[in-house]
C-alpha cells in the first residue's frame, strides 16, 4: 500500500532543488538564452557548498560559497557567450564537462578522498519546525524543511511579480522577444542579459547548496541530470513561473514515486524512467489532443467560410 503523505513529502524535497534551478533557467530563457550549462553551474555549487561548510565549520558559509561558485560559473559562461560570442551550446558542454572532471579531481587535494566526501552531520542544513502546520492535514508535508525549500516554493511568485510588474521584468521580456525594440527604447540589453545570467548562477548556487548540504555530503555527479530536468520543466511550462512551479512539482513527485516503488521490488532501472515518462505524457498528451481537435475545428471552420462565401 502506498503512503500518499510520505510520497508528497518526499516529492517536495525532490522538487526543491529542481525548482531553484528552474527559476534561474527561466530567467535566462526570458532573455532568450537557452542555458544548457545548468548541470555544471549546480554541480560546481554542490562541491563548494561542502568545501565552504567544512572549512568554516558553518553551514551558512557553505550556502554562501555555493552561491558564489554558481555565480562564478555564470560569469564565465556569460562572458564567453555575450562578450566573446562563443557558441552557447559548445560553451555549456565545456562547462559541464569541466565541472564534472574538476570536482572529481579536487576531492583528492582538498579532502584526500575520492568519489564522495561525507561531513559530520552537525553541518547539515537545519530544518525548520513550524508547530501549527502539524495539525493541518496534507499541508503538514511542508513542515520540517530547510529554509531553501521554503524559498524555492516562494520564488515562482516572486519571479512572477518581477517579470510582470517591474521595469526590470518588462525589459527582460522585451529583450528576449525583440532585442532591437529594446535597444531602440534605450534599454541596455547586455546589462539585462548579464543580470539574468548571474541570477541564474546564484539560483543554481542555492540549488547546489540544498542538494549537498541537506545530506551533508558531496558525491561526484550528484546533480544527476537535475539541470536538464529543470530545463525540461521550464520549457514544458512555456517559461511561465507559476506553471513551472507545477511542472517541477510533477517531476519531484514522480521521482519520489519511483523511489517508493523500488522498495516494493520493481526494477530500479525501469522506475528511474517514471519521471521522464510522466513528463513526456504531461507534455505531449494535451498537445496531441489539442492539435487533433484544433485541426478538425479549423478544417470545418474553413469549409464553412468557403461555403458561406460561395452562397
Amino acid at each position: 500500500m502506498m503512503d500518499w503523505i510520505s510520497l508528497l513529502e518526499l516529492g517536495v524535497r525532490h522538487a526543491a532543488p529542481i525548482l531553484l534551478i528552474a527559476m534561474g533557467c527561466l530567467l535566462a530563457q526570458k532573455v532568450s538564452i537557452f542555458n544548457l550549462a545548468l548541470e555544471g553551474f549546480t554541480l560546481f555549487s554542490c562541491f563548494f557548498a561542502v568545501v565552504g561548510a567544512f572549512v568554516f565549520k558553518n553551514v551558512w558559509m557553505g550556502v554562501l560559497c555555493g552561491v558564489l561558485a554558481g555565480v562564478l560559473t555564470a560569469v564565465i559562461y556569460s562572458v564567453f557567450i555575450l562578450q566573446l560570442q562563443v557558441n552557447p551550446v559548445i560553451c555549456a558542454l565545456s562547462i559541464n564537462t569541466l565541472v564534472t572532471g574538476l570536482t572529481r579531481y579536487l576531492l583528492k587535494p582538498i579532502f584526500n578522498t575520492s568519489g564522495r566526501f561525507v561531513m559530520p552531520s552537525e553541518l547539515a542544513l537545519p530544518t525548520i519546525h513550524i508547530g501549527f502546520l502539524d495539525s493541518i492535514p496534507v499541508v503538514s508535508v511542508l513542515n520540517n524543511k530547510s529554509v531553501l525549500v521554503y524559498l524555492s516554493l516562494l520564488l515562482p511568485f516572486i519571479l512572477y511579480y518581477v517579470l510582470f510588474h517591474t521595469e526590470f521584468g518588462l525589459n527582460m521580456r522585451i529583450t528576449g522577444l525583440n532585442e532591437e525594440a529594446a535597444l531602440a527604447a534605450g534599454v541596455n540589453t547586455k546589462k539585462v542579459k548579464y543580470t539574468a545570467l548571474l541570477l541564474n548562477g546564484a539560483l543554481c548556487g542555492l540549488a547546489g547548496a540544498e542538494l549537498a548540504l541537506s545530506v551533508y555530503m558531496f558525491n561526484v555527479g550528484m546533480t544527476n541530470g537535475r539541470g536538464f530536468t529543470a530545463l525540461a520543466a521550464v520549457t514544458l511550462a512555456g517559461a511561465h513561473p507559476l506553471v513551472a512551479l507545477g511542472t517541477c512539482m510533477l517531476f519531484g513527485v514522480s521521482e519520489s514515486l519511483s523511489i517508493q516503488l523500488s522498495t516494493s521490488g520493481y526494477s530500479a532501472y525501469l522506475l528511474g524512467a517514471i519521471p521522464y515518462a510522466m513528463a513526456l505524457t504531461a507534455a505531449l498528451l494535451p498537445r496531441i489532443i489539442r492539435l487533433v481537435s484544433n485541426n478538425m475545428k479549423k478544417k470545418s471552420a474553413e469549409r464553412q467560410a468557403i461555403e458561406l462565401h460561395s452562397n
Partner: protein, 506 residues
C-alpha cells in the same frame, strides 16, 4: 529663433564606407525638416547618431545650443525620439507594454500600470485609435501600428521627433492622415525630421528640405516652395541617368499560362489570407500585383511555389495541374521565383556563385554524372553568367554575401531565368537596389515578357508596377479589390483607393 538641434560636421565611418562625410543639419521648434536621399545616402545613419544609437567618429551635436554626447537613453532624456523604418515592436505583448517600454511610470519598485494606462488611453484617443491598451499589438493593422510607434515616442515626452520612412507601409490615405498628425505636432512646437524618398510627400510635409547623396549634404535647407519634385529628384540622383526603363509594348493575347482558380488559404489562426482568389496570367504578360503589404500577396506567392499548401483551389501551369505538387515538381513544371528576400530565401550568402547557381539544378546532366558534380563545367557556366549578367566583384571562391545588393540580385536572376521558366514570379525584385541595378532587373523582366514568359510582379513600389505591368490587380484582404487594364489612364490616387479597400474596378 534658436535652433533646437544643430548637427555640426558629423563624420561616421563603417568598414569600407564613409556613411556620413562632414554632415551638418539644423532643426527649429515647430518645423518639419524633410531629409531626402536614395537608399544608402546616409540619412538613417545620421539620424541614428542624433538618437544616440550610433556614436559619431567626428563632429558635434548641439541640443538647445549646448554640446551633448549621449547614448539612446541620454537622447530620450533630452527629449529626442525616433520612429525606425521597421517597427520596433513586440506584437505578442500589449499595446501598453510596447508603449511604456523604456520609461514606465513607477510606484515604488512596481510599474504603475494604472497611471500608464490612463496616459496611453489619452494618446490612443488623440490618434483616433479605438483599441484597448491591454490588447495585444498584433491585432492592429499596419497603419495603426505605425501610430503606436509615434505614440511610443510622445509617451516619454519627446519634443524632437525623427520619423524614418514612416509612410513606407501606408496607403496614400493613411499617409495623408499621418501628415495631419505631423501638422498637429508642429502646432504644439515639436520639431520633426521626416525621412523619405517619396518626393510628393516630401514636398507636402517639408517646411525645409535637405538632400543627401553618398554621405554628404548636396542641397541644404530648401524652403517650402523653393523646389519641385524634379529639382529634388535631380539633387538626389546627381548627374546620372534619371530615366527608369518602362514597358513600351503593353498588351498581350489571351493565352493563359498560369491559372489560379478559387484559391483559399487560412493561416494558423484560421484567418483567411486568400479568399476565393482567381487569376490568369497570359503568355508574354507582366501581371502587376499591388496592394499594401500583408493583404495576401506573400501567401499567393508561397502557395504558387508550393511553400504553403492552399486550403482549397487549383493552380494550373500551362495545362498541368500542380495544385498538390511539391516545390521541385512545380519548378520542373516551369515556375521560376525571385524571392523578396535575397539574403535568406534567394541566396546562400556564405556559398559561392557556383553553389548558388547549381542549387536546385544538381542533377542536371550538364553539371553532374548523377553522383559527383562536374566542377569544370559548373565553373565554365558561372564564368559565362558573370559575363552575361555583368555580375561585378565576383572572384573565384568568394562568398556571394560579400557582393553588393544589386550583384546578389543578378545571381538570383541568372539562376531563375537561365532555367527557362514558363512562369516567373518576381517579388519586390528591385527593393533596396540602386538605379543602375534596378534598371538591369527591369530590363531582364521585360526581356522575359518578350520571350513569352508569364511574369507575376509583386511590388510595394507603385511606380514600378505602373511602369512595367501590362495589367494590374490590387489585393485587399486576400481578394482582388480591382483590376487595372488601362494603366496609362489611371492615377496613383485611384490605385491608392483600391489599396485601401475602396474604389471600383477599372
Amino acid at each position: 529663433m534658436e535652433p533646437i538641434v544643430q548637427l555640426k560636421e558629423i563624420v561616421k565611418k563603417f568598414p569600407g564606407v564613409l556613411a556620413n562625410d562632414h554632415v551638418s543639419l539644423d532643426l527649429y521648434p515647430g518645423e518639419c525638416h524633410a531629409l531626402v536621399g536614395e537608399n544608402g545616402a546616409g540619412k538613417s545613419t545620421l539620424m541614428k547618431i542624433l538618437y544616440g544609437a550610433y556614436t559619431a567618429d567626428g563632429g558635434q551635436i548641439l541640443i538647445d545650443g549646448k554640446v551633448h554626447s549621449y547614448n539612446v537613453q541620454g537622447a530620450r532624456d533630452l527629449g529626442i525620439g525616433m520612429v525606425y523604418q521597421n517597427f520596433m515592436q513586440v506584437p505578442e505583448l500589449s499595446i501598453l507594454e510596447n508603449v511604456i517600454l523604456g520609461d514606465p511610470p513607477k510606484k515604488g519598485i512596481a510599474i504603475d500600470y494604472k497611471q500608464a494606462k490612463e496616459k496611453v488611453s489619452v494618446l490612443l484617443r488623440r490618434f483616433g485609435l479605438k483599441a484597448d491598451p491591454d490588447q495585444p499589438l498584433k491585432y492592429l493593422s499596419v497603419g495603426e501600428r505605425q501610430k503606436v510607434e509615434i505614440i511610443k515616442v510622445l509617451f516619454f515626452g519627446a519634443r524632437i521627433l525623427i520619423l524614418d520612412e514612416p509612410t513606407a507601409v501606408l496607403t496614400p490615405q493613411e499617409s495623408e492622415e499621418l501628415f495631419r498628425i505631423i501638422d498637429d505636432l508642429k502646432a504644439d512646437g515639436d520639431a520633426i525630421v521626416f525621412i523619405s524618398h517619396k518626393l510628393r510627400e516630401v514636398v507636402r510635409v517639408g517646411d525645409r528640405i535637405t538632400v543627401m547623396r553618398n554621405g554628404r549634404v548636396v542641397q541644404e535647407g530648401w524652403m517650402r516652395g523653393d523646389a519641385n519634385e524634379t529639382d529634388i529628384a535631380r539633387a538626389m540622383i546627381g548627374k546620372r541617368d534619371v530615366d527608369l526603363i518602362q514597358n513600351e509594348n503593353r498588351g498581350t493575347d489571351v493565352e493563359p499560362i498560369l491559372e489560379v482558380r478559387n484559391l483559399w488559404y487560412f493561416d494558423e489562426l484560421g484567418i483567411a489570407k486568400l479568399k476565393d482568389l482567381s487569376l490568369k496570367v497570359n503568355k508574354g504578360e507582366i501581371l502587376g500585383v499591388g496592394g499594401v503589404e500583408g493583404n495576401g500577396q506573400t501567401e499567393l506567392i508561397n502557395t504558387l511555389i508550393g511553400l504553403l499548401k492552399q486550403s482549397h483551389g487549383e493552380i494550373i501551369i500551362d495545362g498541368e495541374d500542380v495544385s498538390r505538387a511539391s516545390v521541385s515538381k512545380r519548378r520542373a513544371a516551369g515556375i521560376g521565383f525571385i524571392s523578396e528576400d535575397r539574403m535568406t530565401v534567394g541566396l546562400v550568402l556564405n556559398g559561392t556563385i557556383e553553389d548558388n547557381v547549381i542549387s536546385g539544378n544538381e542533377y542536371n546532366k550538364a553539371f553532374s554524372n548523377g553522383v559527383v558534380l562536374n566542377k569544370d563545367s559548373i565553373s565554365a557556366y558561372c564564368e559565362d553568367l558573370i559575363d552575361r549578367y555583368s555580375i561585378f566583384g565576383m572572384t573565384k571562391g568568394k562568398e556571394v554575401g560579400q557582393l553588393s545588393g544589386g550583384n546578389m540580385q543578378k545571381i538570383v536572376l541568372a539562376r531563375e531565368i537561365e532555367r527557362g521558366p514558363k512562369v516567373l514570379i518576381a517579388a519586390q525584385p528591385t527593393r533596396g537596389l540602386d538605379i543602375g541595378a534596378t534598371n538591369f532587373v527591369r530590363e531582364k523582366l521585360l526581356e522575359e515578357k518578350e520571350k513569352g514568359t508569364a511574369v507575376i510582379l509583386v511590388s510595394a513600389d507603385l511606380e514600378e508596377l505602373m511602369s512595367l505591368s501590362d495589367r494590374m490587380v490590387i489585393f485587399y484582404e486576400g481578394q482582388i479589390q480591382g483590376e487595372v487594364t488601362d494603366i496609362a489612364h489611371t492615377t496613383e490616387e485611384e490605385i491608392g483607393l483600391l489599396m485601401g479597400g475602396a474604389g471600383s474596378e477599372r
